[in-house]
């Protein structure tokens, strides 16, 4: 089935007020779809990833709903969400591979984790070994300590572990970020393979690196300052973006072959607005070359072409 997020608002409590990190986002992820979420730091993509599975103590669910497979997720209720966590929705958090207990063997760690979710290790062991082989790891990796593995290997172990119970939705937060280029490719491909094999129904891949999304994602969602800017099939976002922010972002990425002498690329001036007191209207206003009076009112995130949503008055 599918994931439907409707006007989701998740704010952070701080001593200076509420940081409106996620301020009303609406989108859908279809069955079997890999959706990438791209954006720069502070845009809310990690918050979105976390909100779908577990709100930590600073976060509060202010409004909106999340429906997974026709089941509304009780985001605000930590205990009720236990039922869904790991079985229906699984998260690979940022820096996951650095979070492994260095004094425990991998196999032991997995056993403990499964026990915490009332799953017997012996029962899933054959499947676990099969999947490790699938991503190119030998099964004796279970007998090793994390420090003996390279970054790419650890990340693949985390990937296998997170999807062991075949969740409906897998959320990966910066899973390829701290890796070498070759490991990055292996992990990204492993993600797609898992979807193809049916271990995971749909995937949300969160990263700042749009080029990786172009390689593995079906659709890309671009976020800016807690709002959605654009959502479209991956190729469309890269080759024919409509939102000014997306256009400038893609324009700021040098491809192998772009040379400074031939054509200088441009960055985006300024910084994202503070989310403590976000400005009314379109949040990209201050940095947008197409700004005009209507932008004082927040543009709706609407479909302008088949499967292509944009939040911009200049696009219709």
């Amino acid at each position: 089935m599918a994931l439907a997020v409707n006007d989701l608002k998740v704010w952070y409590r701080t001593l200076r007020g509420d940081v409106k990190a996620l301020d009303g986002v609406t989108f859908e992820v279809a069955d079997g779809e890999i959706m990438g979420i791209a954006g720069e730091s502070g845009c809310g993509k990690t918050t979105l990833g976390k909100a779908l599975i577990r709100l930590d103590t600073r976060m509060k669910h202010v409004g909106g709903t999340v429906v997974l497979d026709d089941d509304e997720l009780p985001l605000a209720d930590d205990a009720a969400m236990r039922r869904y966590r790991y079985r229906e929705v699984s998260l690979i958090p940022q820096y996951a591979m650095s979070a492994m207990n260095p004094t425990r063997k991998i196999g032991r760690m997995i056993r403990d984790l499964l026990a915490a979710h009332n799953v017997r290790y012996a029962e899933v062991l054959p499947e676990l070994e099969r999947r490790l082989k699938l991503v190119g790891l030998e099964t004796d990796v279970l007998k090793r300590y994390p420090i003996e593995l390279s970054g790419g290997m650890k990340q693949r172990v985390v990937l296998v572990l997170s999807t062991l119970l075949n969740p409906s939705l897998l959320i990966g937060d910066e899973v390829t970020s701290a890796l070498d280029v070759s490991s990055q490719k292996a992990v990204a491909r492993a993600l797609v393979e898992f979807r193809d094999h049916g271990f995971v129904k749909s995937m949300i891949v969160i990263t700042h690196d749009i080029s990786v999304l172009f390689q593995v994602a079906d659709t890309i969602l671009v976020m800016y300052a807690g709002h959605l800017a654009e959502k479209a099939p991956a190729k469309t976002i890269i080759n024919a973006p409509l939102h000014p922010y997306t256009k400038m972002l893609i324009g700021a990425l040098p491809k192998v072959g772009d040379r400074y002498e031939e054509q200088q690329l441009e960055g985006i001036e300024g910084r994202p607005p503070s989310l403590l007191e976000p400005p009314a209207g379109c949040r990209f206003r201050d940095r947008c070359p197409l700004v005009h009076d209507k932008c004082a009112e927040a543009p709706p995130f609407r479909e302008v072409a088949e499967g292509h949503h944009v939040a911009c008055w200049a696009v219709s």
Binding site: L15, V19, S41
Partner: protein, 318 residues
């Protein structure tokens, strides 16, 4: 599957995620104009507004003043047989009298002096030795680090207290400064270790490399870049050494190896026990010195918690 080299090769780190990590979406607040030499003044400004620092400082300074100028206002000298023995507190004797009729308050005030002195000196000596060794070992590494570690471990393993007892027993006259010196010489190993590990972690930070790239020498780097990052830590260390010295001195005094020519709070407690103050219910004899030590050391700890907020600008904005 070959594993990569055992050395902690620097992986390409996780990209821009580190930028606004603590508080998502909070852009930096525009703060302060430019002030020449404003750093120390600003620190002081914040220090004086922090309740923990204020309260702690007030208590400590109060005791200090009492110990410093109190003796000038005392009616009776500490060792004089001034009044009726075992008298409870009264207008004449705010802390009552001992079994010999000595003014407990006078002893208390005199004791404060030597207590502060032994704390300051003993703590100071240990701090200087420990910090120097810790900084040098942590920064230089290599052979120097190995040698200094050996030294630290040797001193750590020597039963300092036993040696103190032996030294104290052999020497005829014992004065407070000497006592402080001995205590200082044996209390520094943990400081050296703690400072060394902090220095090691700071050393790998890029701003140290940048200071080296500015042609700055080792001593200056330690003084201007490494130590300031640890000011609150160093102060905490000093607080612990201060308190530790006082307590060690009190223990020595308690078993009769205290200074032969001065009164101290530990000595008071020693005498109180010797003369069965507990059994006789002379609470005014041992409670003031015990409470005094507790309040002084406790206030220093509270001050330190407050100072951590003052010294660390990041905590400040919270």
């Amino acid at each position: 599957m070959r594993k990569e080299n055992g050395m902690t090769a620097t992986q390409p780190t996780a990209g821009p995620g580190a930028e606004a990590s603590e508080q998502p979406g909070v852009a930096g607040s525009p703060k302060g104009g430019r002030k020449a030499g404003g750093d120390t003044r600003e620190t002081l400004y914040f220090a004086l507004r922090n309740p923990k620092v204020l309260i702690g400082a007030v208590v400590v300074v109060a005791f200090l003043l009492l110990g410093l100028i109190g003796p000038a206002f005392l009616k009776y000298a500490p060792m004089d047989y001034a009044g009726p023995p075992m008298a409870p507190p009264s207008a004449d004797f705010p802390f009552g009298t001992t079994t010999f009729g000595q003014d407990v308050f006078a002893q208390f005030v005199a004791g404060l002096r030597s207590t502060f002195l032994v704390g300051l000196l003993g703590g100071g000596v240990a701090a200087v030795i420990g910090m120097t060794i810790g900084f040098v070992a942590g920064y230089r590494g290599g052979l120097i680090d190995e040698l200094l570690n050996m030294l630290t471990n040797v001193v750590l393993v020597i039963p300092g207290f036993v040696v103190l007892i032996i030294i104290n027993a052999y020497l005829g006259v014992r004065s407070v400064p000497m006592q402080a010196l001995y205590i200082g010489i044996f209390s520094w190993p943990w400081v050296a270790r703690a400072v060394r590990s902090q220095t090691l972690s700071l050393r790998s930070r890029d701003f140290i490399d940048l200071a080296r790239l500015s042609g700055v020498g080792v001593g200056t780097i330690l003084r201007r870049e490494v130590a300031p990052n640890m000011y609150s830590y160093l102060f905490m260390t000093f607080v612990l050494l201060f308190g530790g010295s006082i307590l060690t001195a009190a223990s020595l005094d308690f078993i009769g190896l205290g200074p032969t020519n001065a009164m101290s709070l530990g000595l008071m407690m020693n005498q109180a026990v010797q003369w069965s103050a507990l059994h006789l219910g002379l609470w005014w004899w041992f409670i003031p010195p015990g409470l005094g030590i507790t309040l002084i050391v406790g206030s220093l700890y509270i001050m330190n918690v407050g100072l951590d907020e003052v010294f660390n600008p990041k905590l400040r904005e919270m």
